[in-house]
Symmetry: none
DNA sequence: AATGAATGAGTGTTCATTCAT
DNA sequence: CATGAATGAACACTCATTCAT
């Protein structure tokens, strides 16, 4: 029972996300995306009306990936463990972070520079991430305002650490800031 | 006695930096830069061999601007005040940060995505900034390793806060993280 | 008991004629025609082998329409009245003539420019129209050669008047030439 | 003393007019025009901003040609002779009229179908032509309104005759209507 | 009998780059 | 010293056409 349409569309969106992360949105041509997805060049426009539409699909794919990863942490009983998993996700992916930056931040910046609409859409992924982290901190006993402040801090520091690790081509900032944040999270959980 | 050649070159580099910050490097054409600088289109290639060369000039200009700003803080007697000036620089420029991201981080990311060479060059501006901050923290009494760690943390957090403020189109993360860091700096100065 | 296949084919031909008249043949895509006819995009090629084939169907539809309109004038007893009905047909449709030109002439020119074969086919519609008008003039007592000459003049002047009215976006040439021709016809009928 | 810029631009406009007349505007690609003018494909966009801009240049070229032809009839002392020259111009070009229609009417219709703006611009060429003919009839002693009516009739009939000659692929309508109009003009000059 | 999925060839357009002057 | 003219390669996008079902 094949769903070829959805399958190809997904493959195209995945390829577009991947190439945008590694080369940038502007430097990624429609033909590149098609080739990467193993699809005929003209076919991209069967699934997407414009390149901006591909950008929107990138945001959706990105959002879906982060949401499903977070979903996977539901097994963990303690909020601290879930928050630390967020840090570990970056550490496990340190090579890519070093080479291309944060998979979320880099792509959002790239799309935002292409068009304000895409930038706003990408911003919502950040919002969702902060919402999730704020929920975890709330579960740790923080009042809403404090929980949000902590969540924003967590995301901001990881964004900055990833940016520095990429800019300096050095995993150290990422590792050090993650270690810092882990202690900060554990301390909050006590 | 001005040297008009140099003047034009500088104007071109300034225009290139400005446009790259606001639109991105890829979306900025050589003709755009020439027009922005009030220079004849063909002349860009008199001053720069290739567009990548323009990218290098952007890095140099960026580096010069940050260095001279830092230089301007020499008047301040206390290292804490100089470090806080770094934070204030962002707060004073909050509108641009919100609209286009960190003037340093956004441009570095943009150039890094264009070519590894430019990325490495841009990375050195970050290194210099960290070196400066590490020096200030050393002056506050921290041992070298600790001073570097603190400097990296400072830059990373501001990078992340700027990125979030841009992505969310909301000045709050920048303001909150800056306030946080100011207390953290003042505490270190006691 | 309708034959749905034929019905769809007719609807497609009608849509194609309509769009060709208003936008031109080249600017009308197969997908446009399908959408306009309320038919699935892929289905056009079930009824027509190529786009040129659609062009042929346009000519046939056009021919059929003019023939049936002429047929409708059979009720009128006097040839003068039938010939004047031809003029009135244009005057009644003056808004479209102004906006898009003569429904026959514009489409013929469009198809002729697309391919000589279609141009020749479209030319036959003109021939048929001239034949009809020549028959009417013959009935008014003109010898065959004179009747054909008058018929050709009638059609030519209306073509030119329609073309001018369209080009100048002004109904005046059409109205004036039609009034002229009506007197000329009435005079011949005395 | 070469004026290469103007020269190339003119050659491109000439090629564009020629191809539009023979193939239609839509079926003429920018690459076709460049090749026809002996110019590199990318160069068209150095002289014209868009294809619509090329269309405007076509109108200008067309207008210039007709104006200069009319100018050439200044030598003729009698208005009748000048008006008959207009008819002769078509008869001398009968082969092209038969193959492609009226050089003015066909191109105007083609451009008008491409965009209303171009259609309006093309319409002004017709206006100018009518103005000229009206002036000649005025010189023959007709009051302004009558002169304009006659001028419009002259142009309209030639348009229609050319259209029919093209549609039927038969020079007869053009020749017969031209002969008719010549007698009509000579009669007015007596 | 009918169609939705898919595509390759071609379109208008942009732009980094070259070069004669 | 400086530039306007010119260009070829690449881009986003369109569309007539095919075909498995």
């Amino acid at each position: 029972m094949p769903r070829p349409a959805t399958d190809k569309r997904d493959r195209l969106a995945d390829a577009a996300l991947d190439l945008t992360y590694r080369r940038g949105f502007e430097r990624t041509s429609i033909a590149d995306i098609a080739e990467h997805a193993g699809v005929a060049p003209g076919s991209v426009y069967y699934y997407f009306k414009t390149k901006d539409d591909v950008g929107q699909a990138i945001v959706d794919t990105l959002s879906g990936r982060y949401l499903s990863v977070i979903e996977g942490w539901r097994d963990l009983a303690a909020p601290e463990d879930r928050l630390v998993s967020f840090l570990d996700m970056y550490l496990d992916d340190a090579d890519n972070v070093r080479a291309f930056g944060c998979p979320l931040g880099a792509v959002c910046a790239e799309l935002g520079r292409h068009s304000p609409e895409l930038g706003a859409a990408a911003g919502e992924v950040f919002s969702a991430l902060i919402d999730w982290a704020a929920g975890e901190f709330a579960e740790l006993g923080f009042a809403e305002a404090a929980a949000r402040a902590r969540a924003t801090h967590l995301i901001a520091v990881m964004q900055g650490a990833a940016a520095l690790t990429h800019a300096l081509d050095d995993p150290e900032p990422l590792q050090r800031e993650a270690a810092h944040l882990e202690r900060w999270i554990r301390r909050a959980g006590e």
